[in-house]
Amino acid sequence: MAKQHIVFSLNGGVVEILVEPRTLLIHALRETLGQTGSHIGCETSHCGACTVDFNGKSVKSCTVLAVQADGGEVLTVEGLAHNGALHPVQEGFMQEHGLQCGFCTPGMLIRAYRFLQENPSPTDEDIRMGMSGNLCRCTGYQNIVKAVQYAANKLRATQGA
């Protein structure tokens, strides 16, 4: 099958790759572009380990074709930190013990990043709903909720300042 040339923004830089039409975005990111932060957990869009930010929205990249990203903007966990400074969601997960094996973490972080832009002052219940597309087998979510609250507080403080 003929490969297609696609160009998109990835974590602030421009990437150009050749992909088959059937290539899933998660495979293009992980295998063609070597960005292995996003993971594959279920392949049926249930677990959210492959979540990336695509054109300003959280999507499950196991169920998006790479060709659909052509001309778009993708952000993955690798693009969260800026100039060596962690994003508040990253800090929050570390401070509140919001991760254990780390496998769901990149998807959780990138979802939390977007969720807090959708809802900067969430209740704990809002967080549980907003993060419900991401499964974690280790933490029981309680510390993930705290981690997202930590980030929300920090983001509000820095934006309010």
């Binding site: 099958m1 297609q4 088959e20 039409p21 059937r22 899933l24 392949e43 049926t44 869009s45 249930h46 959210g48 979540t51 929205k57 959280s58 999507v59 499950k60 169920t63 998006v64 074709l65 060709v67 659909q68 979802r111 969720f115 709903m129 907003g130 993060m131 419900s132 597309g133």
Partner: protein, 289 residues
């Protein structure tokens, strides 16, 4: 879990999409949100030779009001439905139901049109469409035709949509004063289809039910209209006894398939229970309006 090979087409206009669909025929599938089709392709239950991606057709997106009707582009996503102030005011059942669909990420991709056109009885919008008296706009090489939601769903994955047609728009009458609504959905967990769900929209006038629509999700090969139940309440002052009677009439039309969510008996009872709850909630809301 890798799809087979296919050619990818990303038309920019509806006309172009219809032309492609005509040319490629049976070997083509339309790609909307992709969360039903791509998993099927990964399992190789579906192996289309061509995918026509509707995501780049701007004309298929958006929500607007025109002479008392709400027009919604078929490629409008679930989260766009939820976020719409216009819908919350003029067709509140739709965003309420959309909140119960899958999870936040999937709702960013999943579309109203895709959910309807797939013909899956587990999808939520078919019953909602019946409850809000929606009209579907189907476009094909022979032009445009309109069909009411009640007449669209023929069987499991089988709808009125012809192979060369595209569902382009959904039109819904804006609600009037005294309208109440509810979507009650029982599901095992986030991301699951309904074990059973009921969509209810009703209008009260002086405490009397002038009109009521009751439609059910995932308890038959298609979404179901509970016509007898509706009739039993129309023109009445609805009380608990009537709700009970309506729930039983709704149960009578159910023909669910057994699966891991439950057996036929359970699903039928749950359709009844969701009907009770949805009528009660719709009634309370109508009284508040």
């Amino acid at each position: 879990m890798i799809p087979g090979t296919f050619d990818y087409h990303a038309p920019a206009t509806v006309d172009e999409a219809i032309r492609l669909l005509g040319e490629l025929g049976d070997e083509a599938k339309l790609l909307a949100g992709g969360h039903s089709l791509l998993p099927m392709m990964k399992l190789r239950f579906a192996s289309p030779k061509h995918l026509i991606d509707l995501n780049r057709i701007g004309a298929l997106k958006g929500i607007r009001e025109q002479s008392g009707m709400i027009h919604i582009g078929a490629m409008t996503t679930e989260n766009e439905l939820i976020a719409s102030a216009l819908l919350r005011e003029k067709c509140p059942l739709l965003p309420e139901a959309a909140k119960w669909i899958s999870d936040p990420q999937v709702r960013n991709c999943g579309t109203l049109g895709g959910d309807i056109a797939h013909g899956d009885p587990g999808n939520d919008h078919p019953a909602v469409m019946m409850a809000v008296d929606a009209v579907f706009v189907l476009q094909g090489p022979r032009g445009e035709r309109l069909i009411v939601a009640d007449r669209f769903f023929h069987g499991l994955y089988y709808t009125e949509l012809a192979p060369d047609e595209i569902l382009t728009e959904i039109r819904i009458p804006a609600v009037s004063k005294g309208t109440g609504y509810a979507y009650c959905k029982l599901k095992r967990k986030t991301g699951d289809f309904a074990t059973a769900a009921a969509a209810v929209q009703l209008r009260l006038d002086g405490g009397v039910c002038k009109k009521i629509n009751i439609a059910l999700t995932n308890v038959a090969p298609t979404a179901l209209k509970a016509g007898d139940a509706e009739m039993s309440l129309t023109g009445k002052v609805i009380d608990e006894a009537l709700i009970e009677q309506a729930a039983r009439k709704a149960m009578a039309v159910c023909d669910p398939a057994e699966d891991q969510r439950g057996n036929r008996d359970y699903k039928t009872h749950m359709a009844g229970e969701m009907t009770r709850r949805a009528i009660r909630q719709a009634l309370a809301r109508a009284k508040g309006n």
